[in-house]
């Protein structure tokens, strides 16, 4: 007995232009992504760097405020 599910299985192949359309869409998508990467700031990199910079600066400020009379290591001063 033939499996009727096999008999109704579509055998026609997808059209040739489908692959072309898909590749064109992918190329367009890649172009958009690259343009966005080019013009947008990558916050995942910039935020930790700026936070680090901020804390380092504020730490230095605190140290300066704590020892206002402390002389500089520079012997000329």
């Amino acid at each position: 007995m033939d499996n009727p599910f096999k008999l109704i299985k579509p055998t026609d192949k997808p059209p040739e232009n489908l692959k072309k359309d898909v590749m064109e869409s992918i190329e367009l998508m890649m172009l958009v992504v690259r343009m966005l990467q080019l013009f947008m700031v990558d916050y995942s990199i910039s935020i930790p760097e700026s936070m680090d910079q901020f804390f380092r600066t504020s730490k230095d400020e605190k140290h300066k405020n704590k020892d206002p009379d402390k002389k500089s290591d520079d012997p000329e001063k």
Partner: protein, 147 residues
């Protein structure tokens, strides 16, 4: 699945784009073809749910044939003529249709179907059993309609 060549082509295009965008999420736990099936089936089921009005007839069925064994339902279904089977599948809920096609057309294992639908083995078996019962009920209804 969608019974229209034009829509099938549009969906294929969108599915390939989705696959391309989701490639990073492929973890290699299941085979690539199973993963592809998963994306395709989810995409098609979503599309059909949004665009096709499913016949209320299916919901109204009482499972009078559920008392029959699963083997009897399977035998009944596999003895159907191809045209009748195509009509039955067309009337079925997309998820039921999909699981029957996976099992009997693509001859996928229960394990692969589990991975496609992300459900347990017992859930796959239960869905298959229900899908077969619904299909056999539909077959009876269609035959009654003709008779």
């Amino acid at each position: 699945m969608v019974n229209s060549r034009d829509i099938a082509e549009d969906l294929s295009h969108d599915i390939f784009l989705k696959v391309f965008l989701s490639l990073q999420k492929y973890d290699g736990k299941a085979s690539f073809s199973t993963w592809l099936y998963r994306i395709t089936s989810n995409f098609c089921i979503d599309y059909i749910r949004k665009h096709k009005r499913i016949s209320n007839k299916i919901e109204d069925y009482t499972y009078e044939l559920e008392s029959r064994t699963e083997e009897e339902n399977e035998k009944d279904l596999l003895s159907s003529k191809a045209e009748l089977l195509a009509r039955i599948l067309d009337e079925l809920d997309p998820e039921d249709k999909m699981i029957l096609l996976m099992k009997y057309q693509e001859e996928m294992s229960i394990k692969n179907i589990m991975q496609v639908f992300d459900i347990s083995e017992s859930a796959v078996k239960m869905r298959l059993k229900r899908a077969k019962a619904k299909a056999v009920n539909l077959k009876t209804e269609i035959k009654k309609g003709h008779g």
